[in-house]
Each structure stands twice: as structure tokens, then as C-alpha cells.
Symmetry: none
Subunit: 237 residues, 2 copies
DNA sequence: TGACCCCGTTACGTTTTTGTCACCTCTGCC
DNA sequence: GGCAGAGGTGACAAAAACGTAACGGGGTCA
């Protein structure tokens, strides 16, 4: 059984396999490699997993929830907390039963899970699905507008030839604005998207961060326009 | 005297939910509406889905593949064949397992799919992603009449080649007038639509804002005509 | 542990927006 | 012409919205 070949923008996707049993890692690896080429890295426990994820930035993590020392769910949460690894899709492996419920409760953003025992084919599908999804954003991990170029991987902004470091919050905010230039984003929407605030909470946090962003944009600070009483708008120039 | 603020006139996306079980439709509806406002329409089987899609042109279709009478994939293909519905993005819902393979075989252009059970958050993300992609083309968000061009996305007015910034109130007022040129809008209607005033409150606020608008329109100020004793009328030129 | 960074909040100052008022002009009618 | 009602206009003050600097808590890292 052969699947249609899928072309990835990245030559060879890097996958991190986290499981304490070497047999299982091997099993997964063999099944994955049967139909596509991936670059595989492995970790046997949670701490190592976190380290390697941060160092090597895989495109996908396959995470067994049954781990020594550190619970898999904890690993998952820590991955999400770190800006560097927050967007890496994760496939969680669970024993059929109790854990499934816990996972259902999680907000599985770009993620997925699989109950053991799983069929090789199913694993393949999930892997390809997640990789497709995470790589399909328009121009890979770069958002470019005028002289601005936002690098989603490095959380960095390139502007006028120099790289500007942004914090995680600043990045999310700028991204929200820049991904649709010329469109006015309402305060409430920005608060929801960047901070997760649900209601029209009265807060000056947004203003403060806008100021910090404008500072970092330097002479281009005026690209972020204020629309009084409504929100902010990023003008392509 | 200040009354409740009037919500800003953003276009409300229309979503068609196709599922034979009312419970599921309800579940999806509730989850969708938790964070955004959408106009929802529903269909319980494939034929109805096709009919409503053609009649009402939703911005997005959420399609359960398990349907009575007509298979969901057939519905999907028929949607694609009809020029009127060919470009509407579709999110397909599948039971985890068999059907996933079939979908993988499809060329998912602007579409996506989700395996049940799915997390509400994930559904939200897909919906917003697809809507953003298809909705951002300025087609429906420009109101053009003569030399006037009101951009609902940017909340800006373009006139004689230059962009004119309007305040939120001015924008709403001008939009109310300009969206039906040549038609006289009564004072009471304008007060209700722009300010949310319910009764025929005696106020000169409307007059003042009309004046301010005319000023900003410069030489085109006379496009806003006074209809004595009734209200105002926007003449296309 | 201590230095540092990020971030949300607060307080205060400034700018913009907006509703109202007083006074004026215009129009239609007697 | 005189009158009344409707709308135009400029001024004004309150309120709202925003910019900004500074503070302190919490986390990170050496």
C-alpha cells in the first residue's frame, strides 16, 4: 500500500521520538521510514526530550506519555510553555483507557494523540497530517511584508537588514497585526488572540506592548497605527 | 447622555453545519459561538446541504462525512462541481479511522478535515484559519460609490486617491448613508443604527457629526444632502 | 542567591473624540 | 415682513482613549 508522495517545503522533516523503551522507539522508526524519509532523533526520558527539543527544534514530536521520572503530560506542558518549542506539533501515545480522558480535556491546539496499540498506517497518517498542517502556512515560517520579515521559528524580526529580537508576547502581537496588513484589528480581538482574554477586560497591557513594539521598530514605529476607539492597524509601510 | 455602545459593523461570517444528528450540530454551534459571532445555518442531510449552500452561499461549510442517503464525500464533490459553491472552504468531520485514508487521497485545496472526537479549540482554530484565508480579499469589504471607497477592514475612507481617517462614529455614520446611495435615511433610523438610541430623543448630535463629516469630505461635502424634516441622503456624487 | 529580563499593572499626562449648548441662518407659510 | 421650526456652525467642557514612565512580581540563568 503506497500513499501519494507528499512534498515538504523542508527537505527532510526532523522528528523527535520520546519513549523509554528502545524497542518501541525502534518500532516507530522502522514504520515511519518505510514510506518517507525523515530525520529521526530520540530521547528516553522527559528531561532529555525537553533538552533535545530546545536544541534541535524538531518539526514534530512523538511523545509516549508513560515515561520514567517525568510524566509525559508534564513534558507536553513544558514544551508548550517554552516559546521555542511551543509550536512544535506533538503526537501523544497513550495506553488505551484512563489517560485518554485526560487528553481529551487538554486543548489540543495543533496536536493529536494515538492509543496503543496503534497500526503503523495510522501513525503514518497522523504524522503526515500534522507535518502538512504545520508547514502549510503561506511562506513556511516567514511572514514578509514590505521591509518587515517575521521569522516564526527564531521569534525574530528582520528589518532594514538587521535582526531584532522580540519577546514571545511582542512576537505574537506583531504577528497578529502583520499577518493582515492594512486591516484594523480590534482591541478585543487582539487581547483574545495574544493573551487569551475572553471578555473586553479593561487593561492597559495592550497599549504598553504596542509602545514597546513601536520602540523596537524604531523609525518604522509608525507602521503600527492607532485607530482610536477601535484598535490598531499595521500599515504595510 | 451616553447609551450602550453600538457594535462595530464587521461582516459576520455565515457557516453551514451539515450533520444528521441534531446533538452534534448543537455541540458544534455552541463551541463556535463561545468566542466569535457567526451566523449559523444547518442541514441534516446531503440534499438539504447542497440546496442551502447554493441558496445562501455560506462562507464555510462544516461537513460530517457520515450522512444518510448521500455520502458526505459525494456532497463534497458536488459542492466542488457547482461553480457557485466551488470555492467555499469545507471542513470535513470523520470518525477516527477508515475514512481518514480516503480523505488523504483527496486534493485538499482550501479545505481541511478533523477526526472525531475533536477538541473545541481545534475546531475553532481551523474555522478561523479558513475564514481568514478566504475572507481577507477585500471584495466584500469595500463599499464603493463614485469617487468614494469605504474600506470596512481598514476602517478608512479613500477619496480622490487619498486616504482619510475617520473616527469610529463618523465611520459608522458615513457607512449607514453610503451603503444605500440616493435613499433618504430618517434621523431616527440613523440615531438608532449609529448611536443605539432607541427613541426619538431630541439631540443635535447627529447634526454635529454630519457637519464634521462634510468637513472631512472637503469638496465632496455636498454629497450628503439634507432632507428637511426627514433626515439625510447620500447622493452618489 | 543575585542579577537580569519579561510582563502586567498603575498612575499620570496628553490628545482626541464627542455630546451639548447658544446663537445664527435658512426655508416655508401666513 | 414676521414667525416658527429645522438645520448649520463654532465653542466648550467632559469623557474617553491613548502614550508613557515607572514599579514590582515572577521567572530564568549563571
Amino acid at each position: 500500500m503506497r500513499l501519494n508522495p507528499v512534498s515538504f517545503p523542508v527537505p527532510m522533516p526532523k522528528i523527535l521520538i520520546v519513549d523509554d523503551e528502545e524497542d518501541i522507539r525502534e518500532l516507530i522508526a522502522v514504520n515511519l521510514m518505510r514510506e518517507e524519509q525523515y530525520q529521526l532523533i530520540e530521547a528516553a526520558d522527559g528531561l532529555e526530550a525537553l533538552r533535545r527539543a530546545k536544541d534541535e527544534r524538531p518539526d514534530l514530536v512523538i511523545l509516549d506519555l508513560m515515561l520514567p521520572h517525568m510524566d509525559g503530560l508534564t513534558v507536553y506542558k513544558k514544551l508548550r510553555e517554552n516559546a521555542l518549542t511551543a509550536k512544535i506539533p506533538v503526537i501523544m501515545l497513550t495506553a488505551r483507557g484512563r489517560l485518554e480522558e485526560k487528553i481529551e480535556g487538554l486543548e489540543l491546539g495543533a496536536d493529536d494523540y494515538l492509543s496503543k496499540p496503534f497500526s503503523p498506517r495510522e501513525l503514518m497518517l497522523r504524522v503526515r497530517n500534522l507535518l502538512r498542517r504545520s508547514h502549510e502556512n503561506p511562506s513556511g515560517n516567514l511572514v514578509e511584508t514590505g521591509p518587515f520579515s517575521l521569522d516564526k521559528n527564531a521569534l525574530k524580526l528582520h528589518l532594514d537588514g538587521e535582526g531584532i529580537d522580540l519577546t514571545a508576547t511582542e512576537f505574537k502581537l506583531l504577528l497578529s497585526l502583520i499577518e493582515s496588513p492594512g486591516i484594523t484589528k480590534e482591541r478585543g480581538d487582539l487581547l483574545k488572540k495574544v493573551w487569551g482574554y475572553s471578555d473586553m477586560i479593561q487593561t492597559r497591557t495592550l497599549d504598553t506592548h504596542i509602545k514597546r513594539l513601536r520602540e523596537k521598530l524604531g523609525s518604522h514605529g509608525s507602521s503600527i497605527e492607532t485607530v482610536r476607539g477601535v484598535g490598531y492597524r499595521f500599515s504595510g509601510e
